[in-house]
Symmetry: C2
């Protein structure tokens, strides 16, 4: 059959004009997940949304109204490319909780910490440079590195996070191959997606290895204050100021919709980040920064963070109970903080291939392959417990378990799903949720 509609040339008059980097831009799994998750009848364990229903919304509303009356003329105006000075000063108090002693001048404010990550990539990554990442790693970071045409190399992790010996081995091998390693990207504390925390005695070892090889560390820390064991971990940045760029965000301690994040970087790097920020957006929003600043000064944000933490711990426990009783086939580590379980299903199952069936059963999750740059993770899935209620979590896991059982039966009868033909037996046909 002749294809009457060649993709691209006919549909896109500009297809010859794109930059080389654009070829690597694919429909992101994150966006597809949002689309799947948005139907109300679906129990979505797919996203990574904080539970802002726990916010004192009236108080926030009053605070923002007062802000506009008091300082609307600056909050609604252009501002500095580095970000609000007062807010940068206040952030010292937030970061001090993880032992970080920075200077406000070392901080750059960004449009969420995703943009901080984008700026770091922009400043450091040439095509074919290597970024070392955990195994698995944050899907949104992998998207950034792909956009800058870098190669991601995953280093094995266990229940205590990155394995230092494996890191050393990978670095040595890559350097011997003549590769340019630009940085280690890590979410050391309550990792997305794995839920692990880099164990205390591994922190200095990881830093020592990177320092010895002249490799920068990019520490992404959205969840550091969401630990369930009544403790925080010291930020890597607190142990090696010159060797680490630290990324923080208000998305999980206040509100993701503000898009207020920040980077703390060695001085010369910070200067480059500000320049990159100005080229990218001129300046971050003075308004959302002012809202974040008032949140820190006028609302008991530590109590609010504690209440997020308590809520998420309760839901983590609900998910752990549900997984134990309803999906005993799955292997996982109990998350020590953050928003996610990372589960491994029995050999032969494919979470991406299963997703349409799961959505038909009205449950969604994040397939594991999105968290690897190399196509692994097919047996894995990330399950979010911060957004759905404990009841919905139980129901979601129940529906998911139904799908897994059915898949296991199919697997026993017909053998594994063949990705090359996208078929096994005759499958239930339903609208695909556009996950590439």
């Amino acid at each position: 059959m002749t294809d009457q509609h060649p993709v691209g040339s006919r549909l896109d008059p500009w297809i010859e004009s794109y930059a080389a980097r654009t070829a690597g831009m694919k429909v992101s799994e994150i966006r597809a997940l949002f689309a799947v998750a948005s139907r109300p009848e679906v129990v979505s364990l797919a996203g990574g949304m904080p539970n802002i229903g726990a916010l004192p919304m009236e108080l926030v509303g009053d605070t923002v109204q007062r802000l506009l009356l008091d300082q609307g003329l600056t909050a609604l105006q252009y501002s500095s490319g580095q970000g609000d000075e007062r807010l940068r000063d206040q952030l010292l108090e937030v970061m001090a909780l993880e032992g970080l002693d920075a200077h406000p001048d070392d901080i750059v404010m960004t449009t969420g910490s995703q943009q901080a990550l984008d700026l770091v990539a922009r400043v450091f990554l040439d095509p074919r440079d290597v970024v070392i990442a955990e195994s698995p790693s944050y899907v949104g970071a992998l998207g950034v590195f792909a956009a800058y045409e870098a190669d991601v190399v995953h280093v094995p992790c266990d229940a205590d996070g990155l394995v230092p010996e494996a890191l050393e081995e990978h670095i040595t091998r890559l350097l011997a191959e003549g590769r340019r390693i630009k940085f280690l990207y890590t979410v050391p504390t309550f990792q997305n997606p794995a839920g692990t925390a880099l164990f205390d005695d591994r922190r200095p070892r990881v830093l020592e290895i990177c320092r010895r090889h002249g490799i920068l560390v990019v520490e992404d820390n959205p969840y550091g204050l969401l630990g369930f064991e009544g403790r925080t971990y010291p930020a890597l940045k607190s142990m090696d100021a010159d060797g680490v760029i630290y990324l923080g965000t208000f998305s999980k301690i206040f509100a993701a919709g503000l898009r207020v994040g920040w980077a703390v970087a060695p001085h010369a790097v910070r200067e480059k980040l500000v320049l990159a920020n100005e080229a990218a957006i001129l300046c971050p929003s003075a308004f959302t920064q002012a809202v974040a600043s008032r949140y820190l000064s006028e609302i008991d944000w530590q109590a609010q963070t504690a209440s997020y933490r308590a809520l998420y711990q309760e839901r983590r426990d609900a998910m752990a109970d549900a997984l134990r009783s309803l999906l005993p086939q799955a292997r996982w580590n109990l998350p020590r903080g953050g928003l996610f379980f990372w589960i491994e299903l029995p050999e032969g199952l494919d979470t991406k291939a299963m997703l349409p069936l799961a959505v038909k059963e009205l449950v969604a999750y994040a397939p594991g392959t999105g968290f690897y740059a190399d196509g692994t993770g097919r047996r894995n899935a990330r399950l979010n417990f911060s957004y759905p209620t404990s009841e919905r979590i139980h129901e979601g896991v129940r529906r998911f378990a139904t799908v897994v059982e059915r898949e296991q039966e199919l697997l026993e009868t017909f053998g594994p799903y063949d990705d090359s033909t996208r078929s096994r037996a005759r499958r239930v046909l339903l609208p695909s949720p556009d996950v590439s």
Copy 2:
């Protein structure tokens, strides 16, 4: 004398790690201008700030408070990478005023239109690609193109904007040289910095030339609704939907501090822009988008835009009067809209070299060289009239005229300033306002 402090290597342990593009990142003139402008005793004609003092701030405060109570749970949450659907729908009404008939699905919301420009550059520009721009062109756009290592070629303009014959000549020459021209970047309506509008009969001609050569047009339109002649111009995008990417913003019709902008693009390009947006920031702020949406639906924004327009026209007239009476040496076109005068001083004067003296006289402006990628513009300056009051404008021009006169005397006595030695006669020493 030996330099004891080599720049970089000693101060910056990561200097060997930066990407190739980072070498081109210089301290932006925009940032330096903000720094200069911030001292209250200085009359700043340097910035490009809208006069948000004209906003009904109490009403805005009440509206935002209500927004948080009504829809705080979505406004403070993660949202779609393409941007708020309702707001994209409302934007049709805004753009219809300039004859633009788009579909909400063709729109991507961004962190100010600067980020839209960054996304366009990211999707299209490889190093050494050519961007054609007006002469002069917007300093912030030149910063973006430099960040993507593109070469900017300026095409001559006159009082009626871009000269079509010159555009044709430049394109023909560049193509004959084998250069890859990726797009024409233009601010056709009330240009920054020139204040001109591309004359009606030139619009189809410019589009025809670009279409014939297969060159995309990027139409940056922050000022289209700020015309002083009781009229608007039809957007280029309204005349060639497939050949134009249109960029809009709330910065000048509402508030720059929100950082809400957008792009309207041919469908396949729009898809790339959304992917690039997700990699860069995940999603634009749901909160600031919701504020912009409420502004359009609950506040008489057209009346507010009309009042901005009337205020700026009054100040434009004040600046024209002051320039005529106090600085008759300067040549300029009367701005037809927007925020700026673009003036040319007599041969031999150098506005960048003069700036420290001007700041000592307590007036600041934007030196002309920032608006060219090729070092021209030394006799030019951009003067803003939207932010200072008419009285301050008069006083600022008076101070500026004093500096110009003194420079002209020096010029007659000692000859032109020598940029290579950064000296002429013994100059007044004062802290430099760090304009590179």
